[in-house]
Amino acid sequence: MIAAELDVPLVEARGIRKTFGALVANDVEVFELRGGEIHALLGENGAGKSTLSKILYGYYRPDAGDIIVEGKKVSIASPRDARALGIGMVFQTFTLIPAFSVFENIILFLQDLPFVIKDGVIRQRIEDFEARFGFSVNLDAIAGRLSAGEQQQVEILKQLLAGARILILDEPTKVLTPQESQGLFKSMEALRAAGYSIVFISHKLSEVLSCANRITVMRHGRIAGQLKDDEATEAGLLSLMFGTIANPEEPRGRDHRPRISRSPVLELRSVTCAAGTGGVTLWDISLKVNEGEIVGIAGISGNGQRELSDLILGLNKPLRGQKLLWGEDASKWGAAKTREHGAAFIADDPAAFSSIASLTVRENLALGTGKTYYSRVGLQWAKLDKEMKSAFARFGFPRPPFEAVAANLSGGNLQRMVLTREISRDPGLIVALYPTRGLDVQSANAVRDALIEMRNKGAALLVVSEELEELFMLSDRLAVLTEGRLIAEFEPSQYNAEMVGSWMVRAPEMLSAA
């Protein structure tokens, strides 16, 4: 392993441009990587870090631009090409075969595996790597039974054994415990010292500051700045990540009622909730949502937001702690019961979670309304038509033809349909999970206006969103969800994107009493 000269770039990406439809994911003038360095790619969600990396790994082809490896222009059409060039990537979701052993998972990707697998020689090679770089996975363990940290080690070893000299790690500490993260950083340093180059994608300032040699900050698909480790400070990085923030004005649609105590509709008392496979466990969540208020939950997606809404809606039960709805212990309630009592759910992806694509609009409107429109055997279509038509009119939404199949509706219209259905029942509790994600501006505004109207009518709302401006506009109170924990509550007077944003990128264990 020859350490490349520190001044000659190993990999260069020039003029890379990548759009997905109307969204410009990448517009990068120059990104270069040197041998023997840990280069961090820092930025918020959607800043373009993942896209750039996937282009380097051959997952995406750029619309324009060149990639130059060791001075030669190359074309990377697939991950196999990338691996042949010595570029490896470890994703957030692992591509291991759960039934195979660690050994088998690694040798599957070996470039030079002989027909008859010679156990001994190959094992020695892998164990050498493990020893050199501080990995400690048992080669005979079954991959599906390993912890996330161990699986990640296997993924890294897999790429190294396949010949990678450049390792791209996409948010590797997301699934790791603090100790495992420390172990990873030690391994990364050992690799760097041996001449490997590591691209470390993260949104966590503390980690980036502690281990990176150079830091490239991305924002809105562009490079916002590049710093060497001795030049970087937390404040400097934050300003590169979030840009200059105008002072937030009084958000529209909010009235200035003083906070009076109202009865709580939803109450979570120290709830711990186990996640399914690949999910995030919620720890010690305490939360109260009262009548007539909107509580906002901020945070990078993947930190437990979906699990929180599943918990509230009754799809997942608390392991510890209590969940109360309208004063009753609702810890054991299922989805049907929770909805019957007056809970409504606006999902982030209506096509996947709250509507049935193959059914018509009318049929979708009939479902999920409990037994409102059911008669003895059939359905009261006439009643449904009348009430739903007036509901659409009340919200000012354009009414889609009721016979249309839901699959043909645009995202915006589908979400409006879901909203109409959910809200027409006058629910007492509304859980909205990224309700305006993927919507055009008009639809997004319509959704937000509807949510505010419901609050003014006395409903309790929990709104989860990644967009801070949206949360500032909607919420009477704001909390941050990170790694399954609620940290930091904010009052409207404290709403400041830099401030809240900085809490979103901190690790919970670094906080004193929050």
């Binding site: 075969i97 039934a99 195979f100 990707f109 027909f115 008859v116």
Partner: protein, 294 residues
């Protein structure tokens, strides 16, 4: 129960199980690549009828076995193309193959109904009175085990059965591997069918496999997709009659039908147990088609 009688019972159980072993091993290879073939019954019938016909016509049982293997492999090629090349539903295609086999075998065997052939000769080896196919079951199982678990080809094939996407990402060619697996499956099922008509009964009758093809599918599950366990599994599934005579001699009168049920019910219990423990030895790629519960 005298030793001679016991030996007779055991050897008839073994002979009866040979066809199950071949068919089971073939289906195992196919399922390891992620393809479940409900048409094994049809393949075995084709093997039995074509093999018998070839033996009766040429006088050579070895040519008969070869013909059985070839015919089955070709028939399974139809299945392979439809399922792998055209991405058709595996279950429907397998059942279609079953009907195809029933029809083709009836046609092929028609002129030979009632014939009796010399069949595959019994060759005494170490005092055992079996034919060459019986003796080959053990080395075959070991060979397949070695191929699947100790070679690069087997690793790629198993990876395809677990996750074609990962196999593809690793630079393997999942479709090619699936074709190879399915054709091997066809060949072995044909040999199994051939053994029935050429070695065991030495006659041909329509639908003589009597459900053995489906037994093979069940016993692959029972054997946890491990070639080395196929032989004991086949003996278990096929030995009901033999066991019944044993028990009868010991004074316990149990209907052979009840005994024949046990392996199926056991397999069901094992599957329920695996499901409860959230562990399964099944190749993940068989998933929703056949064994997934989500």
């Amino acid at each position: 129960m005298t030793a001679a009688l016991l030996a007779g019972v055991v050897s008839s159980a073994i002979l009866s199980a040979v066809s199950l072993v071949y068919a089971g091993l073939g289906e195992l290879v196919s399922e390891r690549a992620g393809i479940v073939n409900l048409g094994v019954e049809g393949l075995m019938l084709i093997g039995a009828s074509v093999g018998f016909a070839a033996t009766a016509a040429t006088g050579s049982p070895y040519l008969g076995i070869a013909a059985a293997a070839l015919a089955s492999t070709l028939a399974n090629g139809l299945f392979a193309y439809v399922v792998i090349g055209r991405k058709a539903n595996q279950l429907a295609s397998g059942l279609t193959l079953m009907f195809f086999g029933i029809g083709v075998s009836a046609l092929a065997g028609k002129p030979f109904i009632g014939d009796i052939i010399q069949g595959l000769p019994r060759i005494p080896v170490l005092g055992l009175p079996f034919d060459v196919l019986t003796y080959l079951t053990v080395p075959l199982a070991v060979l397949l085990w070695w191929l699947l678990f100790r070679t690069r080809w087997g690793l790629a094939l198993r990876a395809t059965g677990e996750s074609p996407a990962v196999a593809f990402a690793a630079g393997k060619r999942p479709e090619m591997l699936q074709y190879q697996a399915v054709l091997i499956g066809g060949c072995l099922a044909g040999i199994g069918g051939g053994h029935l008509s050429i070695a065991l009964t030495r006659t041909w009758a329509e639908e003589m496999t009597a459900g053995r093809g489906f037994i093979a599918i069940a016993l692959v599950i029972f054997a946890k997709w491990n070639p080395l366990l196929v032989i004991p599994a086949a003996l278990l599934f096929g030995a009901a009659e033999a066991l019944q005579l044993q028990l009868q001699a010991a004074g316990i009168n149990l209907s052979p039908f009840i005994l024949s049920m046990v392996p199926y019910l056991l397999t069901l219990c094992i599957l329920a147990f695996w499901g409860w423990r959230r562990q399964t030895a099944a190749p993940a790629g068989l998933g929703r088609t056949f064994l997934g519960v989500e």
